[in-house]
Amino acid sequence: MKKLSKVVFHVGRVFILFTLVTGHASATSTADHTKFKELQVLFESGPEVTSACIKCHTEAAQQIHKTKHWTWEFLNPDNKQRVGKKNIVNNFCITPKSNFEHCTACHIGYGWRDNNFDFTSEENVDCLVCHDTTGAYLKSGDNAGHPKESVDLSYVAQNVGKTSRDTCGVCHFFGGGGNGVKHGDMDDSLAVPDRELDVHMDAVGADFTCSTCHMSIDHDVAGSRYAPEAKHTDDYHVHRRASDEENNAHCRACHGNKPHKKEDKSRLNHHALKIACQTCHISRMARGGVATRMTWDWSTAGKLDESGKPEQIMIDGNLVYDGRRGNITYGEDIEPEYIWFNGTVRYQLLNEKVVLNEDGYVHVNDFEGSPDDGKSRIWPVKVFRGVQPYDPEMNRLVVPHTTGSDEASYWKHFDWVKAVQAGMDSAGLPFSGTVDFIKTQMSWPINHMVAPAKDAVACDECHSKNGRLKDIDGIYIPGRDASEKLNFYGWLIALLTLVGVVLHGFGRIFSHFWRRRT
């Protein structure tokens, strides 16, 4: 009996791993987790569930330990910057540092409260947040990634399965703190998108999940934006095989190098040398009916109403002012901005002096690229602009301690100096004691909400003056660029010729009548 169950477990484990890796198995599994004795207990906590999972899935937790999803850290091989969610700053909620207990509601682990979290703990890996199929698994917002007490962990554990748009989306749709806030190309409309919103994820069509493109090897998911590939030269290939080390959740893996098959569209294949697929095929951002945030001004935060609660103003269901956050603006169904991008992203890190760019903004991240480095293509990005706290004497961006109810918490006591002092102490960084505000901007690549071909950007949206690519330099775009001198002299000569022949004609008419008269 024991032997048989062992066999069942083994078969089940192999199959689950297989389906996770390939993502192409049929919907029904050969392993029914409700029948596993290990799961037929009343689980009291998340780590207890994980302990049960890793009895069979022996390597899973260790695999997770190596991933960015777990470490929130990434060493950029190009510029050696140590980035990742743990290290970088953004201009939304700024940084999880000193706010881990709350921010780790989106960490795939349990118990990351402060700098003492044990990253080697296997049972602190949260299997359920990715493998839940019930929608009943919810993490608490202020308990370091532990599930809400109301969750029936046994029910959830017995109904685990493949990841879905819902499981990835529970964090990635809500990046920046709310639905669609951060990315511009991801919000919960992608849970059930129609064909017009996303041609691949179409819920009644191809119905791709995230992992159809973002396949994983050993739980490491492809397609990180920390070091994306901006220009792929390889043709079709089945991506994410064991030997494949590339970060290649890209269009070409399936569509190849010459995706435009029709004769009259074949010229577009050549465009792809300079233009990312996304540039034409994701014509607008935030198309699913959910607005994305475009600006965020922290410097206006702090207004309280008579009862001492932070003031809040909602317009069309969007929070446009919040005493805790400041002024916020939104955009829906809008054009992205376009830049040359070569795949290298440079971050403005906390231990570096801020660099104020010519445009008046500190670039919290900078997508590097140029028309002539041979590695860049034109990419669509959402540029998020904000005003955020910094230390004018140290000339650095700062860590504000916003969450919680302690003495220093900004959202509780609205004292920037105290909040930043606590934040910088927690991060182990120096702070002068002065807080000022500085304009910052951050770019986010636009990759999702791929429209059907008929809705792609039309030729004359770029091949025209003041078109989408009006600010892109370094290339000649017919219809946009023309020598002003050439046009001036060209039309002048044509016009003079016209005037000349018209005058000549009048002369003949005049002389004709003149002769008649005499």
């Binding site: 409700t34 929608g135 703190g177 059930v192 129609d194 009644v204």
Partner: protein, 133 residues
């Protein structure tokens, strides 16, 4: 030992009962597809705006499906809410609505349960994921 086995038997039966109960509640994900791609779609186009399951509490939704009145309120013949998940209705819009076409063969009762499961899952007072807001 014997005691132990009977304990497990009871436990398994209880769990099976529980899971079949959950099954009977309908598949909220299927219900969500229908709700968003059929109900919401039509409301946006013909009734002046999107509808959110979070506009009503679970009890209000239960009450809504019990009364089974959809409207429009001023129409001479008020349609039953269940009419809008019926095969007849799906058949009538299948040429313009891909979701209705795709879900054409699902029995009416089952689809209604799916939709009910979805609104229950997403209602105003349902347990929602934590957000920073």
């Amino acid at each position: 030992m014997k005691h132990n086995i009977s304990f497990f038997t009871v436990f398994i039966i209880a769990l099976l009962g529980f899971s079949s109960l959950a099954e009977a509640k309908g598949n909220w994900k299927k219900g969500r597809i229908y709700y968003r791609m059929v109900c919401t779609e039509c409301h946006i186009e013909q009734a002046g705006g999107a509808i959110s399951p979070a506009e009503k509490t679970k009890a209000e939704w239960r009450d809504y499906f019990e009364r089974n009145l959809h409207g429009p309120q001023d129409a001479s013949a008020k349609y039953a809410a269940s009419y809008f998940v019926s095969r007849e209705y799906r058949e009538s819009i299948k040429d313009t609505n891909r979701a209705a076409k795709k879900m054409l063969k699902i029995p009416e009762d089952k689809l209604l349960e799916d939709v009910k499961a979805f609104v229950d899952h997403t209602a105003k007072d349902s347990d929602q994921p934590s957000r920073c807001e």
